[in-house]
Subunit: 363 residues, 4 copies
Amino acid sequence: MSGNSIGKLFTVTSFGESHGPAIGCIVDGCPPGLALSEADLQHDLDRRKPGTSRHTTQRREADEVEILSGVFEGKTTGTPIGLMIRNTDQRSKDYSDIMDRFRPGHADYTYNQKYGFRDYRGGGRSSARETAMRVAAGGIAKKYLQQRYGIQVRGYLSQIGPIRAEQFDWDQVEQNPFFCPDASKVAEMEAYMDELRKAGNSIGARINVVASGMIAGLGEPIFDRLDADLAHALMSINAVKGVEIGDGFLCVEQKGTEHRDEMTPDGFLTNHAGGVLGGISSGQDLVASIALKPTSSLRLPGQTVNRSGEPVEVVTKGRHDPCVGIRATPIAEAMMAIVIMDHLLRHRGQNMDVESGLADLEK
Amino acid sequence: MSGNSIGKLFTVTSFGESHGPAIGCIVDGCPPGLALSEADLQHDLDRRKPGTSRHTTQRREADEVEILSGVFEGKTTGTPIGLMIRNTDQRSKDYSDIMDRFRPGHADYTYNQKYGFRDYRGGGRSSARETAMRVAAGGIAKKYLQQRYGIQVRGYLSQIGPIRAEQFDWDQVEQNPFFCPDASKVAEMEAYMDELRKAGNSIGARINVVASGMIAGLGEPIFDRLDADLAHALMSINAVKGVEIGDGFLCVEQKGTEHRDEMTPDGFLTNHAGGVLGGISSGQDLVASIALKPTSSLRLPGQTVNRSGEPVEVVTKGRHDPCVGIRATPIAEAMMAIVIMDHLLRHRGQNMDVESGLADLEK
Amino acid sequence: MSGNSIGKLFTVTSFGESHGPAIGCIVDGCPPGLALSEADLQHDLDRRKPGTSRHTTQRREADEVEILSGVFEGKTTGTPIGLMIRNTDQRSKDYSDIMDRFRPGHADYTYNQKYGFRDYRGGGRSSARETAMRVAAGGIAKKYLQQRYGIQVRGYLSQIGPIRAEQFDWDQVEQNPFFCPDASKVAEMEAYMDELRKAGNSIGARINVVASGMIAGLGEPIFDRLDADLAHALMSINAVKGVEIGDGFLCVEQKGTEHRDEMTPDGFLTNHAGGVLGGISSGQDLVASIALKPTSSLRLPGQTVNRSGEPVEVVTKGRHDPCVGIRATPIAEAMMAIVIMDHLLRHRGQNMDVESGLADLEK
Amino acid sequence: MSGNSIGKLFTVTSFGESHGPAIGCIVDGCPPGLALSEADLQHDLDRRKPGTSRHTTQRREADEVEILSGVFEGKTTGTPIGLMIRNTDQRSKDYSDIMDRFRPGHADYTYNQKYGFRDYRGGGRSSARETAMRVAAGGIAKKYLQQRYGIQVRGYLSQIGPIRAEQFDWDQVEQNPFFCPDASKVAEMEAYMDELRKAGNSIGARINVVASGMIAGLGEPIFDRLDADLAHALMSINAVKGVEIGDGFLCVEQKGTEHRDEMTPDGFLTNHAGGVLGGISSGQDLVASIALKPTSSLRLPGQTVNRSGEPVEVVTKGRHDPCVGIRATPIAEAMMAIVIMDHLLRHRGQNMDVESGLADLEK
């Protein structure tokens, strides 16, 4: 399959550029009978939407999704679900002075090398604008997983630059513009971001995602392990440079006795593994963490070259996020939900006649 | 596709358990005309092979690969290449006392939950034994990339538990049993491992992989980005819990001005991105890093449950690696080579008629 | 991949029902640099469009396609091309009396069995309305193949019920509402269809498709043979019940000496094979033929059951084609073009460095 | 995926040439818990095996399959099943005089054009020898379908050259070397084949395949219809030039009233559709028919060219089947079983929670 699809049985295929007429996707493989309307998807789209606080880009998009197919009388029919969002606030003029120069840290140069030319308006296909469709598609997966299995996929921002969340309260996550679970750090984050924005610079962030209420048995050996597919899905998000499952890089310095999660008749004692053993879900919480780089769209000038290879300076004047991580929480949730959903369908296909004679250790 | 395949145009599909008659794979999509013999693959197989130093498992496998098809008169024909290694030193008796209990940190429990029962001999399909076929298949990709494009894929161990390589010399990597590029740390690593083995414990490690001589333009937006596919491939290696591209998790605390790689007519000034921008290779070195957890096969007893859900204790008596990271370097190289190879073929398919009117900034 | 996609490197994924808001598709993998506008696709859409003669359904759809992405400054960018057609003339009321009964010969019963319920308006997803998107997507492939390689994909109706085309003139094909290459049969076909329509019955047809100017080497052993993928693509068209390559079923009674296409330095002497040997194109014309069943939407009553399993009678009152074959020519062309395009990209990926030291026997 | 794989959830990937060391395949996605041994597969391998009557090639292969993985304690584990058959009776010398000339009707020319050179020994990868692995893999699918669902896949030869089976008795099919269901025609077929063999010529054939005991609901709209995937699978068999589902090409001359299968509370009244409506199984028998061309390996000389493009004559001296259709019955059965199996798993994945409130009309 070409590169704009993800998933084998629950497949999302997307299209659209930052400044084209519309962005959209096709969700193929959703089980029939799920109650679904635009309203179900709008909540997460609004969480991701730009312009909701002073800490994100001031581009204003309604991001109203339209369901074009696959739903009849309020329920999914089992046929592909077409989704579309019209682009509205495009301001193509902002980008005219970068059409011939490659912004450092952006995909300008590589798209140009790959395709011979590029749609330079707002990054074209490489813009994070496409992530709106991930959120819409992921919303379908989230709803199915919740309704049918009670699986809940949630994320939060655990660090922004030097500031780490230290306390944890799921209820706080939706109460601040950062998706930060530690209310005591919000003021510090706001001050930090204000200063950064004033300086014209940007900063990285770390997002954590967790699926709770998981069922055991999802994931296929050898290459399509649940964690491997999750790494793929999360690393495919713009600006992500690292992915961890469970303890992640902490493992490097752990001993076997520290890391292995012992079991008792009441379940696992710990969850260093992050809910995956041998690439297959254990029923514990599925836990992943990602690193997002600082955006490269800065008001501070940088050296680069133009299409003729001559040295030039570049300054980004358009509207941009000083921390792309801030809006990434719903995107990461969507990707995790899509991966779980795909593996759920695959698992049911191959293994639905396994007699489950075993006690389920998680319950 | 079911889970035992990787790659879209250069596809590797594998089979085999730790203690079955043989392990093998099919490499489909290798271009015709590549000179290839078993000897080309044996070098990396020997690098991965158990029992070559006292720091790895004492299981002894000849790991002699047989090419069963796809090569005629010493050259690949373009048809699928069948590869097989017979298992020889199996000692199934070692595993009889764990057939009914789930070793903590292993895939015993999850395989059982997924499939209803499991091949308990040496981990069965979940054993790292299958990685031998990755190395064999990756050897074909490595040779093609090197011969046809001058791309070289190499790896090294950068950290084992608390001990980090600080100096760097590619020539040292093959001179010690750890693939460590810092000769001055080898003695320390040896002492550390001896002590650990004596204690019956295990430790994590970090491996870095680098492709040099890269060409620009490899990788497909949106989901099949080069870095996303690389994350998938590396996370699919047994025991891997984290993947970084370029600066990875360091990005969380970086500012945009630090991270973005500026360009001049002579090329990029830095490589924080690790050779990928917008999911497409830039021509710079492709750089990835992985975290491997400590193996959970320990001589130190751990709590677990048996298939009936009763609490039991487990001690692993079989032969195991106290640090699975030690043998992981050739595996990580193989996975990177497979991913680059697949994307190379995909890129050529879609883009071979792009006029390359641009100066190649990397040369 | 789920079932609404076709192609591996040139991938078409479609959505949409007969009476939903819109139908659409995503064409992923189109090479960059192809001049493309809506006008390029409209010609074939108009050839397929209903309501252009009295011999097809009187549903009137403008079938105006909108390109939503993937084209910038008049050229394809290499990124996915989103296409959409709004449904306009829907008349959902026509279908209310069949919502609970399964029309014989239609997909009503099987959709109901598969999904538990169905969108009964005009056949929903099973309606031939979705073929409009195949034609749009195929138009992109046709243009690329023509522009870049001089490959031309054309089709014609060779038989309708008992009436066969006996003379052959490509120039006649577009001169009559049947795509019939034999002008002398058109009056007979018109009279036959008028009578059939009056009787409320329907009839089958045979369509032939030919790609000329082919290049040799397209197709992958073993399962992804060019002819096998073509059979898949053509059999996926609504109402198709048979596919032949070259001589097709005539082979059953042929001897080897009759069938084998001998070669001379000037090329092949015959083309019984239909342009494919061992699943790979020979450079000769690629020739396929398909059988389309008579539509089952009849004004003549038929026995069936309702959702409760009770016997009922069904009469179709909606607007329908008395011979679905009449509009199938552009659809069959589109499917052949998509298959060739996909194999072209795959072939280039794997084999672009084959030295072509051989004289090309076809030129 | 590259071309040597078929199926999405039940995936068969094969390798091997006519005269290489071995042929083999990997069956990925088989559900766990199926009792399986080599003996289960050997019966169909023996039915396909050459040299069992004077009417097939005199090459003698034991065709003893070895299960290399995926089975533990006599049951499938859910992990990939590696299968291998060593080639034994190879006689490479027979082919030395065709190494530089392209046999008409064979894949010699097209492989050469595609790959730049070819393995000329016995057709290499293009030899029908690879079909042994299809039969072995299909045997697993057949067993699962039979054991778990009572679905039985059987085939027969319905025509050889001018001689058609007119009576039908499943019990006769295994009683003669042709798989002919009409005992009264066997003597005629034997005489016809003896004469043909004496003349050094070959002949085409028609094979029918039927799955009985089918369940409704298998097949995915739009492109992965059950019939489309079946057409793909059957057309991928060597020498197949045509595929029909149900009435096939008879549809061209049928009226809607003749073709549509009416329903009553007791089930369908007829089965013109061949068990598929809208690409989804109806629960009726799944019925397909294929045309096989006469083999092009003849003792009668034919014109061709050599690799230098010079005119030469070719005579095939090796051992060949005068009618490849004779051994094709188990191959066609295998392909149908693989397709049903794959769709069964896909269907279960997507639709397992459909409430089946409907009366099953087939029972």
